[in-house]
Symmetry: D2
Subunit: 298 residues, 4 copies
């Protein structure tokens, strides 16, 4: 029997009539009390639900009963257009009961310290909902900072290596830790699709953003030259393009013509580190689902 604290059930599958009814019915018959429930149905007909509940139960029995209770889709298939790959029962519905609360992560950085410092301080005071197993960098500049917090630091230089060789070296280092998530805390090298495919929807990146967006080198210089009045940052999952993928969180700050490109970068860093931290908090508390190229925060 689980202990009687708060539990979390995540559910994900093609939408059909009665899903909420059948799931809540199983919880009701087990005498479990729903504290918070949030659902979302995508326009493409995919159903997402996150349920917080309390009470005593047997996990295997509950999961088994949940699967059995699912309504037969045969009479109600016209909506199903968005079938993900990771389905786990005959109805293509995935249940996850009490996903592990402390995620295991590796942080990847290059030279900038602002996001890393933020994560280390939060980790030191147990505010991250995750364990930082290690920090990996293509430079050794941030080793002194990491060592203050007693966390392994791996300098995996890219010098003299092809992109594939460098990524292979990183993967060897990561294989020591088997992290559930990679956090790119200003890791400034483009990752190959082959690398990204090792961590589907498990790589989180922070990216400066502007209105309008500036592509190419030195975006803060471009933003300055265009005279933007707002700068921002975007935390997102990485799929096959470093700066693309479902957006988890965004925020902005105002600037004006008195800000130099350097001032904008300084203010931008403040936004970046807070947005990254807030995005990680959402992901690590299992509140984020992915629907196509969108992140749904329940």
């Amino acid at each position: 029997m689980s202990d009687p604290t708060k539990h979390i059930l995540l559910m994900d599958g093609p939408d059909r009539k009665g899903l909420i009814y059948h799931v809540t019915g199983v919880l009701y018959r087990h005498n479990l009390n729903i504290i918070h429930n949030a659902e979302y149905v995508s326009p493409a007909g995919h159903f997402f639900m996150r349920t917080e509940f309390e009470g005593l139960f047997d996990s295997d029995a509950l999961l088994s009963e949940l699967h059995s209770a699912m309504p037969d889709p045969s009479h109600d298939t016209e909506n199903i257009v968005d079938v993900p790959d990771d389905m786990t029962d005959r109805h293509n519905i995935t249940f996850r009961l009490n996903p592990k609360r402390r995620k295991k992560i590796v942080v990847m950085v290059t030279k900038e310290h602002h996001c890393l410092g933020e994560l280390l301080i939060r980790y030191a005071f147990d505010e991250l909902d995750a364990d930082i197993l290690a920090v990996v960098s293509n430079y050794n500049l941030l080793q002194p900072l990491v060592s203050k917090f007693g966390i392994p630091f791996h300098h995996v230089s890219h010098e003299g290596l092809s992109r594939e060789e460098h990524e292979a070296a990183i993967l060897r280092t990561l294989s020591i830790y088997e992290p559930e998530y990679l956090v790119l805390a200003k890791y400034m090298r483009v990752l190959t699709p082959a690398f990204v495919n090792h961590f589907p929807n498990r790589i989180i990146n922070i990216h400066h953003s502007f209105l309008p967006a500036f592509v190419g080198a030195n975006p803060y210089r471009q933003a300055y030259e265009r005279g933007v009045k707002i700068i921002g940052a975007t935390a997102h999952f990485v799929n096959n393009d470093l700066d693309e993928g479902p957006i988890i969180a965004q925020s902005v700050q105002e600037v004006d013509h008195r800000h130099t490109a350097t001032d904008m970068a300084t203010k931008g860093k403040d936004v970046e580190k807070i947005v990254l931290s807030q995005a990680l908090k959402l992901v690590f508390s299992d509140r984020v689902f992915i629907s196509g190229n969108r992140a749904i925060v329940l």
Copy 2:
């Protein structure tokens, strides 16, 4: 039979186990498809739910079955501490099915036009989800604006009248229209509790707000003298204090020392009118519930 477009069910009552299950079960047995469902349980144990669904049904039968399906609270009453007054069944649970979508409102103003103008333009283009039956003012300054839009304008002067006499005159005017909501779009007189009690949770006010808050006359002057860097506005229900009551929406804008008190007021008005409009949109689409002194937006 209702037509097969989107329907809304609102539910409100003391929390107990199985509420979601029993309600969604009734909808399932009627072959109705839930499009969107949002619940909230207050810390005091009150349950709120807003359900959007589609399908054909008989309203009386559905409501009757919903009431019958409610679980018996006798075994599960320990949580019930927050019982509102408007309960409608033996379980103290209120259901509202398809609340009328176009609300009937009267707008009250004094001399400032910015919020009124905003509402009139939105109304003229059918963006308000409400019918403005009339505008009532203690001055006649805004009559020309209102007349452009073909809406009755009532000048109910307070001159020479006691507060009670003036409110009695306003109530006589309002009795012509029987509005569901009163919108105080910069109505600058304090309302008595007796007046407010005629419209429980049905008066919406817009109020300038600051960090920190300034009490008393000429708040923009006070904000200027304190050198605030942010000004804002708050849309809220009115209970017994003009500037108190559950907060529906808030927003802010940045200012700096170059802004005079007048500049701050000008920027503040921009915030006020947008926040008021966005709050009305939420209320008139039946997304706002009141829990104690909080407004829950589902």
Copy 3:
């Protein structure tokens, strides 16, 4: 002699040593009191100054003396790299004394009313610092709104016309009014460089903006599909690309996955109209200078 109220002096030219000193010296010798002074020197070495002052003076004498007082650039030319075209004295320095306070503008629209309605209400209450001489549209949809405010409305349809023919027709209409500024209040057709060149830095546009930016048709749909958490709007001068040119003002609002593309567009419109109005206020009070592709707000 001018009357003793507040006056404005605008100055613009290649930077050199002593500019502030010499200008303020002329004002001092005329016994004029500076209330507010703001300068900006661009990285390219261009100097901008906006001075508010009070006192009695003869305009011609003051301007003549200002020109005479300018330091000889011959010893100090190494910085001059950014020479604009509209210089008016031997030192390439432009002075503008008391630019006319009420600008004459024509507003151009297509079908959307939100920005136009905002401008009309502000104009009706004399808050625009400008006279709306006329509204020009390629549709007649907004004629009823404009007529409420007693302003000429010109329907210049583009049907059956080439882009050049249509713009020629618009120019004929504009020639009646000789506006100082064109305000594109959701005018949804691309303007040719030839048209834009008739109004250098005198066309102001409002553009939706996102983090990241979305190019092409239906940006709100694209923003929705990417799951953005922030939407915004940008008011800018138009040069040769409808959506480019110096940025005057920007603002944002938060959204989340529960917002449909339509909801995002609705919230976006609220931002658009306020940003456009605030940008116009800055331009019409002669606070905006253009430096390269940047708008400097003094």
Copy 4:
């Protein structure tokens, strides 16, 4: 002779005609080039100016000439109503030339680490424009964090001491370091006016803020119960009330009914630490002047 890098001149005194002219004249005659100049005249007639310039000069000669060049106020005294106490010449005008760029500060904390951690990381990477001489706390909870960064930590417990005795103990510790500024990075004890008077306009505090403001214990609980939609933070100088004094910087974040009081506090901390850091950056770069109860940021 000073080296030919950027210099800063701060000026502060009763407004009169010709101040900008006379100061810029001295710089011009010394062949110094003004890079950036910002002035402000308070409604009460006090003049503030911050000038950045470059070139070679003798500091004593320059300051002496600046004082000599000031216009005689005898003919122009009607505006002088706001005379501060720290005047340094016969005209009551203060000049400060090249104020020391790295300030010496002591940080005071109680139990919360978020602001302190932020300052330590910035300090470790030389981003603070100040040296943290020591950290003083009435608890020893944050000693391990501080020691990671090699900074002295003083635990000055208040237990068993009167407020005056405790403050005397703190002052003894501070006397070792003679800090120019005290930074209250979530120091949660009220300071007496006697203590504050030791550091006039040299104590900077960070304070949570709300719309509306909540007075008394547990403001996040109050904010939650009122259902606020925005939370914020205010960095300000401390005068005789811990939560009052000129406001340097403010910022906000959005929340909604799904945020518990704890969630609000968590988000509030993110705002607090960024606002405090940004305020310190402004103060330590000598951009902040105090006018009455307002902070002017030039």
